[in-house]
Amino acid sequence: MSKQAVTLALYADPDEAAGALKELRNCGVPGFKMDDVIIKSPIDHPELSELLNHRPVYIQLFTLLGVLFGPTTGLVLIASAQASFIYQSRGGRPIVPFPPDMVLTYELFILSGVLMTVISTFIAMKLPGNRSPLYNASVSEDKIGILVKAKPENIPQIDEILGRHNPTEIKGDHTR
């Protein structure tokens, strides 16, 4: 991978940030892709995310896997345990009774669904991970940050585009 530099611009107004993003989209800087733009914000801004390339979310696929496999293996586990060598017959009920087993199967359905969701989410969010060196605490407060990765030679051009939309601050790390 070729050497890349990073720059971060902070905006107080989401509309300005949107303006910056729109301009970046059409800037035509050679080698620059929208995939290299990352928005950092205190809240979710779907209207800004739309300006980036579509980034699919696969979490629910894993959730589906969880809710399919969790209860089936759970039911087999429970029934097998009930039928194990030291089976214990209970008056009035079969040794492997379905209605009570369904209760636990249901619980396992939920549990595995939740666990799979959480695990896949963390993987998708790349958490736990390190913050980028350009992380600015104000993006967790009230600023919207636009972080752009580009070749070092393109940075001034991008900084200029970002600077046109009243950023409160532009900071770059050009050493990487």
Binding site: V76, A79, S80, A81, Q82, A83, S84, F85, Y87, Q88, S89, R90, G91, G92, R93, P94, I95, V96, P100
Partner: protein, 282 residues
């Protein structure tokens, strides 16, 4: 292994108990008949049970709190139905020896969280003390309330030296926090069944008795093997037209006395009581 076991024996695992002829091929099914007409309420069975099964004497204060440990108790009722209709109990008292009914569909069994109580192959409602965690759900669900919980650590208190020398080594002394109940004197049955197995036979009728049945001066308690059709208890069940796997008994004749207590709750008890008789002409 377990999965193949599950598939192979599927039919057995899905069988709902009790069913007709459940014990047809089994060597043993323990059962009892208690004749309320000959029970005189003398408490010999109660004391015999204390002696045989290491039951703790709890003392006055705890007895008063309802923490007694008698596995078999003699209940004494007056009158008929809701209240006593006469000033005096003209027809005597009504004595009822109440012990664990060893239900075939025991309400206590499915609710135990750890499986400390379950149904044994010879039709007993077992209680495994060292598995018990003391949730007391079984007692909550027992319609007869014949399960007894160790509210205190009786081994420390109930047998001051040298009373502990009397303790039956074949029966565990239960520690605090476990449920206990009548076992039909499992230790006696076990020893008898082991001996019989060594001899390659099954136990003869009357060879092993529970402590209460053995002590009972009027022989009001008949104990035996229901699977053995020739045993006295099986003949009595048959004669009294009580079917183990039925919750409503069809009686073909009048004057047949056998019934099971709270049968309508579908517990299928293993103890048949014979109605008390009174000569109302007297």
């Amino acid at each position: 292994m377990s999965l193949s076991n599950l598939i192979q024996n599927w039919q057995m695992f899905r069988t709902r108990r009790p069913y007709e002829d459940q014990y047809k091929d089994a060597p043993y099914k323990w059962a009892m008949v208690i004749d309320l007409d000959t029970c005189i309420g003398c408490n010999a069975c109660t004391v015999a049970c204390y002696a045989e099964n290491n039951l703790a004497v709890v003392g006055k204060e705890r007895f008063g709190k309802g923490q007694a440990m008698h596995w078999i108790r003699i209940e004494r009722y007056w009158g008929e139905g809701e209240e006593m209709k006469t000033d005096f109990p003209e027809r005597g008292a009504q004595y009822l020896p109440m012990l664990c009914q060893q239900c075939e569909a025991a309400p206590c069994e499915p609710v135990c969280p750890v499986g400390a109580t379950h149904h044994s192959a010879d039709g007993l409602n077992t209680q495994v003390y060292n598995r018990c965690v003391g949730s007391r759900y079984c007692s909550a669900n027992c319609p007869y309330k014949v399960r007894y919980f160790n509210w205190w650590n009786y081994p420390e208190r109930a047998w001051p030296n040298p009373l502990e020398l009397q303790l039956n080594p074949d029966v565990t002394v239960r520690s605090k926090g476990v449920m206990e109940k009548c076992t039909f004197c499992m230790q006696r049955l076990r020893a008898g069944m082991d001996k019989a197995k060594t001899d390659g036979r099954i136990l003869a009728d009357g060879e092993v008795l529970t402590a209460c049945a053995q002590a009972c001066p009027t022989s009001a308690i008949t104990f035996g093997n229901l699977a053995d059709k020739k045993s006295k208890v099986a003949r009595m069940w048959k004669k009294q037209q009580v079917d183990l796997a039925k919750n409503v008994q069809d009686k073909t004749e009048e004057g047949i006395r056998g019934y099971r207590v709270l049968e309508e709750l579908n517990t299928y008890p293993s103890i048949v009581y014979l109605e008390r008789l009174r000569n109302f002409a007297a």
